[in-house]
């Protein structure tokens, strides 16, 4: 029995390489194709799309569909464009993400560093809330929002998302803080730091990766949500997703595909930016709890 000669080994290896890259490129193209179609067609006048070639580059380059989608397109009955709804989404997402992240961090801190009898039961219940389908809570939630006098407002929507997100954020932070050395908390206790001082001075500064993960996760989910938005918002507090649906499905007369494409990209842009800016930390943060040291 002799080992394969080095030249053959190298050849086999480079052949595998080529196959792997080829497969990866095919997949990448496959995933990027829809984005390409949206982008090219959002930059064409409507006539050009009607000619039928969705894949060709624009012959006559125009940004009009983008301006139209942003500020003049017909959404429902008003020709406002997506702008006010974009603002609604921002006003909904920012407080909801901030509140659920902060509360999740606090929960994770208590569940790992201030253990109390029954803490695991509490954690299990919070974990269960991650598995409750949106549809089940619609009617009770509507009732609660009515009682709180928040029905049909952006704040109400933010509250719904914050509450719904706490289960996930608690899970994230709890698992992250589980690996956080308890001796640090004890050292701080001996140094005289209070419950919140330990949280703010010792734990939070070391929580960068998991905060990034939680923010991305919450931001994407809340921004992309359609069901809560369509159920609980009124005409003036509709989030971007619902407005996009109204733009696409309720415009009378001619279907302006180029405007629809531009609107869809506008709706996806914030999550895209969040991913591009902090995607690196996302992967790193997800791994942080898994592998110690």
């Amino acid at each position: 029995m002799s080992a394969p000669s080095p030249e053959i080994a190298v050849k086999t290896r480079s052949l595998t390489r080529i196959l792997i890259y080829a497969a990866l490129i095919v997949f990448a193209v496959y995933y990027l194709l829809p984005l390409y179609v949206m982008l090219v067609n959002s930059l064409k006048p409507l006539d050009e799309i009607r000619q039928g070639d969705m894949l060709s580059l624009p012959q006559q380059f125009t940004l009009d569909p983008w301006f139209s989608a942003w500020s003049t397109a017909q959404i429902g009955v008003q020709p406002t464009g997506l702008k006010p709804y974009f603002l609604n989404s921002i006003l909904m997402v920012v407080p909801a993400v901030a509140a659920s992240t902060l509360l999740g961090a606090l929960n994770g801190y208590v569940l790992t560093k201030w253990r109390f009898p029954g803490d695991n039961l509490v954690f299990t219940l919070m974990l269960l809330s991650c598995f409750i389908p949106f549809q089940i809570v619609l009617i009770p939630m509507a009732k609660v929002l009515g009682l709180l006098n928040l029905a049909g407002t952006t704040w109400g929507l933010a509250l719904v998302h914050a509450v719904y997100g706490i289960g996930f954020t608690t899970l994230f932070f709890r698992n992250y803080y589980e690996a956080f050395p308890t001796e640090l908390v004890r050292a701080a206790m001996i140094d005289g730091a209070s419950f919140f001082q330990i949280f703010r001075r010792i734990l939070l500064p070391s929580s960068g990766p998991i905060i990034v993960v939680t923010v991305i996760w919450q931001f994407t989910n809340i921004w992309n949500d359609f069901l809560f938005g369509v159920s609980f918002a009124d005409v003036n507090s509709l989030p971007m997703t619902v407005a996009l649906n109204n733009l696409v499905s309720s415009s009378t007369g001619v279907k302006e595909y180029n405007v629809h494409f531009a609107g869809a990209i506008l709706a996806a842009l914030p999550t895209l930016i969040v991913y591009v800016v902090s995607g690196r930390y996302f992967v790193r943060g997800l791994m942080a709890g898994a592998v110690k040291g």
Partner: protein, 371 residues
């Protein structure tokens, strides 16, 4: 009046008794070492002194004040943790000053204290670094600095050297001892390393399964172990514990132990070993430290209790400063500590000197020392 006093301390985790009635007391400036195998409750005991664990029963007094229900920060203690527990997001200076910052000590005062402590520990050049940029030994110093700056009544050390490599550990051990000598603060120190316990302590408490086995000075613990566990745990190589039968022949008392081959080895006890005479006709455990079992030339000439006897040497282990010879007596492997240049060969027979003045005897049933 003792400076730190622990009375009948009990600690339960659920149904598990971790500490079963511990009584300890140490004078001001003393160095108390809690030693024992893992799971013996020594770290739990330290944590109860620190206030990081509640206690189920008993009392803890520091400087005449009962501290049972006080928060860790109010007990006037400082602790050095096994992992050092340096705050990773703060610089060395901020780490040391954190406690004062929480207390609201003004900045100039803080800076001065940090400066003084870092000078004592020679870490001045490290003040602006983060803990992740420090070596193990440097982290250790910073952790001690954070404890020193509090000027506490009692220092608590939780296995502070166990994360260092062997050489650094010896250096830091000396440093801790020097620091203790110059500051004269009371220290409670947890370790599983019996050499650390012997070298540092003014008092040693040996624990096993949550029970205090023996509490005494290092010399007491080493020379007069209370039971077979302490005898076996303290000292390296461990004390030889040989099952023997006690025989009376006329006026003298002899110990008899079977060898692997040939007649049993017998040792005539000197007159001083009177207590053991009462056990004639019975069996006892004969405890002799390796250094009390040596080659005839290396034996203590001042001792009247030296008895020579020929033994079969099975293994020879030269260790540089000493040579260890292993023989077989009473069904047990027995280690003798010979001079480094003793002439000995494995498989041969040689005369070994038993220093019976240093021997101790245990009851095989209760395992307690009888003489």
């Amino acid at each position: 009046m003792p400076f730190l006093e622990i009375r009948n301390l009990e600690k339960k985790f659920g149904n598990v008794d971790v500490l079963k009635g511990i009584d300890l007391a140490i004078e001001e400036g003393g160095f108390l070492v809690l030693v024992g195998p893992s799971g013996c409750g020594k770290s739990t005991l330290l944590n109860t002194i620190a206030g990081l664990e509640t206690i189920t029963k008993g009392e803890i007094h520091i400087n005449g004040r009962k501290v049972n229900d006080l928060h860790p920060s109010e007990r006037d203690i400082a602790m050095v943790f096994q992992s050092y527990a340096l705050y990773p997001n703060m610089t060395v200076a901020q780490n040391i000053a954190f406690g004062m910052e929480i207390k609201g000590v003004p900045k100039p005062e803080r800076d001065k204290a940090v400066n003084d402590v870092s000078e004592t520990l020679q870490i001045k050049h490290l003040l602006d670094r983060k803990p992740s940029q420090l070596s193990g030994g440097q982290r250790q110093r910073v952790a001690m600095g954070r404890a020193l700056v509090r000027r506490p009544l009692v220092f608590l050390f939780d296995e502070p050297l166990s994360n260092l490599d062997a050489k650094l550990r010896v250096d830091m051990r000396t440093e801790i001892k020097r620091l203790h000598q110059s500051m004269k603060t009371t220290i409670v120190y947890v370790t599983h390393d019996q050499i650390e316990a012997m070298t540092l302590a003014s008092r040693i408490a040996v624990l096993k399964d949550g029970i205090l086995q023996q509490f005494g000075t290092p010399a007491e613990i080493y020379n007069h172990p209370a039971n077979m566990f302490v005898a076996d745990f303290m000292g390296s190589p461990a004390m030889n514990l040989i099952p023997v039968s006690v025989e009376r022949s006329g006026q003298s008392v002899r110990l008899s132990m079977p060898q692997r081959s040939g007649d049993p080895l017998t040792l005539a006890l000197p007159d001083s070993a009177g207590k053991i005479a009462g056990h004639a006709g019975g069996n006892v455990i004969f405890g002799i430290r390796p250094e009390a079992l040596t080659d005839p030339d290396g034996a203590d000439r001042g001792s009247a209790g030296v008895v020579l006897s020929e033994c079969q040497i099975e293994v020879v282990e030269p260790a540089g400063s000493d040579t260890f010879a292993v023989t077989h007596l009473g069904g047990k492997q027995v280690v003798a500590r010979l001079r480094a240049d003793a002439r000995v060969a494995a498989g041969s027979r040689m005369k070994l000197a038993f220093n019976l003045d240093k021997a101790v005897f245990f009851d095989p049933g209760t395992q307690l020392r009888i003489a």
